[in-house]
Symmetry: C3
Subunit: 464 residues, 3 copies
């Protein structure tokens, strides 16, 4: 007899089909090509203005960045979570499913909030990047609940989280004029605290029944390093993907590059300093070395200077390792927050750091430093509708709003996910693929003996 | 004594060296740089026309797409096939060898058929993409015969298949004016049915002798997911790599992105619905989730709309899972087609679906929808030499031609590959790396005891 | 009791923090944004010249190449070295640490030697690529000493090697006007012979105590293939990353593509010909198949023709396999050079071959072949300050200088690294992660029994 509660035969197909059919209907009603993807619209301009070149299509400015972001979402997040010994299928596989749903839903939600054009949502490469960004936020929350949730719970979480993400992003970027190109606030802080609240509500006092599976093995740590390294390498593309063209995109990528490099050195130093026996801890390397990318998410497009970026990254690595070493155990024992991947240390605290750095950097922005580029980085300051101090204040306020949205949203969604019909695993079956996947056996023993037999048989045949 | 038949000491070097020397000679005689790669030709234009910019070099339009396609060919196809427990070296390694040969041979064959310039083949980034595309078709066929063929057989198959691919592509794209930018017909349908016919002729009634190796283990499935995810992520680049610049490239990438996302949801739903115990089956996730890319290969560049793309992807995922579940066993038992990777489900049926969708979308194409872009997507319709219905008919005819070429070509090549000198493995040695590779042992037992011994020894040395 | 000598609790944090703080201070004093990353400078041009487009920002010419190079440095080199059975954490992890340090230090050293602007180092995407290139050279040397050095030794090696690299590069590219876009000399020859000399000085007569760990297991070879394939795929981007825009970048990528393809066929042929039992050897495939990229590093940007590139790649593969098979054992037994990854065969000899090919190709360069492009590939020849023969002689001289710098530099740095305080592992603890890392256990035995127990328990609960 199988476990009826976690059996997905009807629940998962029903969820997938209903969601996808709703998506298809809404896309049919609401979504159209934008000026750069529509055959008629792009070629109208093309034929009237003679100086016009195919290069002006936003595709060529943004598609390489999009692909790097895409790799981070599907390979980066997916493999980073394969560190658990028996949860590799679910880590990559549920990441894949949740991301494929979220990017479609995000297209609608972001399109709806960021402005309809005559009742239609216009899409192109920039909306694709933004959809991937929103998806990233959902995957951060997934990291907090990893191993303890069914795929149906994750899809339901995504439905709500994408919606709230779009509302928060709308408040920040559209209403308040906040700058947050790499999403220290909108993506990382939001996703982390949302996920932490969900896992708080889903607290399992008897999770130690699955304790022996809540750790890595040698090869699973190597798979996880694939995720880490891809996230690390492409973070410059992530932070710069939707900045203004030209110097802003260029500068953001470079600031992030140096922030990450500095972060890596402080992470290795802190790991050896704090870990048992002076040995390096893979958890720190896999996660804290990325905090420099998170922390450069807001200020990366600003004139932070490489020097400033390195300081930010250096601090982010230190904070993150300390979080893994000292704060996570306290969160679990005192606050009952079971944060499987430690998203508080990789996305939460570094996200808040990034928001603060962004607020400070905005405050000191001046025409002397930015020149005409001020219009691109701080349009509201450049056009005189606010001064730099005010912009800095708005940035700080945005952090508070994001924390509020994430915390209350996460709490509410946590309660929804507690409904038993969503098929959460039992306490002693967490961190275990075989609840939701057909899992093959391990490599058969006695393989070499078999092969010897094969060869002997063949030899006999040939000599016969 | 070793098995003389599968011993590659002379066969493989002879094949590799003879093929490569022929390639080098033919390149020396026939191949020259095109206008964008030749120092003299590119800079001639450069110096006379003042408005000319380095950006007009096709490199900047196509090289990022090329690299994504390249990753699909070598990492995507290579790792997708590592799911077998003892065939990882061969999957990645023979994929590597066959692809490295095929891309050179394809440069010649495609250059020959698609038009010589004063007896010379002109090459640049677009020909590189086309060579990779043709290679992809060979690798699809490789998937059908995976585990049952020697590297020499694979190279011989590639010699013939690349040639036939180029003929078929010439008939479709050049003679008939068929549109098939992402190769639903030329690449996927052709490669799948060609491979299925080859494996039909190579039918092994006693393949169950290797049955215990024709399945995955836990880690091999994770390696395969690397292939899956890379194919999935970069498929938008694949379908858009050789479309017209500008909106066409942009639109194709976006249509494919949404087709794949929808396909992923239907794949997960169908997998849970049809699999044992309501659990997800890795074979479905690794393969069927990609069918949305295949099915958007022809219509992706057309004004399919995101909505239409999602419907296509959604159907492709359903068809593909059903194929794995119900059709593949029948193909093997009734038609004697042993399709190791299930290429019929991933490339065959979704390719046919893509061709049909392309034909229908072409039929309904109108100036009202495409505007001046009609010249770029359907040049023959735009210039009045045919109407949209006729174009749709040509598209449908092209599918029939492709199926015919693939089936008869595959049958003929299958008979050639039966020659014993090519070193096919015995029935009980299929799906086994150690026939063709020096395979290391598994991780030594007792590792921890050893390390304890090491540390004790060192401690003693230090305290001495 | 733990081993005090290899304990990294204080050594590694001290090294990381001191180095990073020095880097931050020097960046603060010396480094500023260049014209394309500075908000004021880029937008000044932008607003005065009306024809000016954001596309003229070097970011769009070079960033996709940069990301490919970045992947080669962190994934390519990192995973290529994971072939050792118990050294995967260190291979990827120390590669990560050393690279993150080196790219920062290289920014300073290369900026210092290649020209300060009013006492400042100007940085942008091209300097980022150059920093990654220099890092690549350090990682090649790492390959020679892999498994036998502590992370502190590696960081110290990087400090000196980056400095010497920058000096050598300055002599070649700036003083002598040598052409070496893909770094056959500056990167590969330099890195290989530097590393070989370091490992010569660090010779361990009793290394056979760790012999049983100095080999691969099945899965570690598959992880290594991830590194190989990424290096192979992105090598065209590597060689073309800092060439002139336009045809030069395009041509270099294409020449490298064909060189690598030809190299792969000769590698497979030679491997089967020379290996035991006619079977392929993973060491050859993982390494020698890349030699075609190394050998096309200097001449790749020249009018080498695809035909010439294929000959170069073909020879490189042959030389490299022969080196692994016959030369490496001699280097170890006679010259006492213990070259863990065989960098002499992958980077050393192919690098020298590439330098020679470059010298010959430069010698035969003519205005008839290059046209106005001569100014871009050989500016000194185009402006008449030297003739092609002289350029060829300079290329040959540059090889000699590079070999001299690498050999003497490597010897000197080797002696520094012998200082016991740097924490090298004992002879019987080489090739072993657990000296420097907290290593998890292997997958627990009896997993399936446990799961059965879990399911039974759950069933009972549900039926209760």
């Amino acid at each position: 007899m199988t476990d009826a509660r976690t059996n997905m035969r009807l629940k998962l197909p029903a969820t997938c089909f209903i969601l996808e059919i709703i998506l298809i209907i809404l896309f049919g009603v609401l979504v159209v090509y934008d000026d750069d993807t529509d055959s008629q619209l792009f070629n109208k301009h093309h034929n009237t203005s003679h100086g016009h070149s195919d290069y002006e299509n936003d595709f060529y400015y943004r598609y390489p960045s999009f692909q790097d972001v895409h790799v981070m979402i599907f390979i980066g997040f997916g493999f980073l979570m394969t560190f658990l010994q028996r949860y590799g299928f679910s880590s990559v596989g549920f990441n894949f499913l949740v991301a494929a749903f979220s990017l479609q839903w995000a297209t609608l939600m972001q399109g709806f909030f960021h402005g309809l054009h005559h009742g239609k949502i216009h899409i192109g490469v920039e909306s694709m990047i933004n959809a991937d960004f929103c998806t990233g936020s959902v995957l951060i929350s997934f990291g907090a609940v990893l191993g303890k949730t069914s795929p149906v719970q994750l899809l339901v979480m995504a439905v709500f989280e994408v919606t709230l993400f779009a509302v928060n992003e709308f408040i920040l970027l559209t209403l308040l004029g906040t700058r947050d190109a790499g999403g220290s606030m909108t993506i990382h802080t939001f996703g982390a605290y949302f996920g932490l609240m969900v896992t708080r509500i889903l607290y399992r006092p008897n999770l130690d029944k699955s304790k022996h599976k809540n750790c890595s093995v040698y090869h699973s740590d190597l798979f996880a390093m694939i995720g880490t390294i891809y996230l690390w390498m492409f973070w410059p593309s992530f932070n710069s993907a939707v900045t203004e063209h030209g110097d802003a995109q260029h500068r953001t990528a470079m600031n992030t590059y140096y922030s990450l490099a500095a972060c890596t050195l402080s992470t290795y130093g802190m790991s050896a300093l704090t870990a048992h026996d002076g040995k390096l801890d893979m958890v720190h390397i896999q996660n804290a070395a990325l905090a420099g990318g998170v922390a450069a998410g807001t200020a990366g497009e600003m004139m932070l200077t490489p020097f400033g970026s390195m300081i930010v990254g250096f601090l982010a690595g230190i904070i993150s390792v300390l979080g893994y070493k000292y704060l996570s155990p306290v969160l679990e024992s005192k606050l009952r927050i079971q944060d499987t991947c430690g998203v508080h240390n990789l996305h939460g605290m570094p996200g808040v750091l990034g928001a603060i750095v962004g607020a400070v950097t905005a405050t000191v922005a001046s025409k002397e430093v930015y020149g005409h580029g001020m219009e691109r980085v701080f349009p509201d300051v450049a056009n005189g509708s606010r001064d730099a101090y005010f912009q800095g204040g708005v940035q700080a306020l945005s952090l508070a709003i994001t924390l509020g949205m994430a915390i209350f949203g996460g709490l509410a969604v946590g309660f929804i996910l507690k409904l038993p019909m969503f098929g959460a695993p039992a306490d002693n079956a967490c961190f275990e693929d075989s609840i939701y996947w057909e899992v093959p056996g391990e490599e058969e023993a006695g393989h070499e003996e078999q092969m010897t037999a094969v060869r002997t048989e063949e030899s006999e045949k040939l000599s016969a």
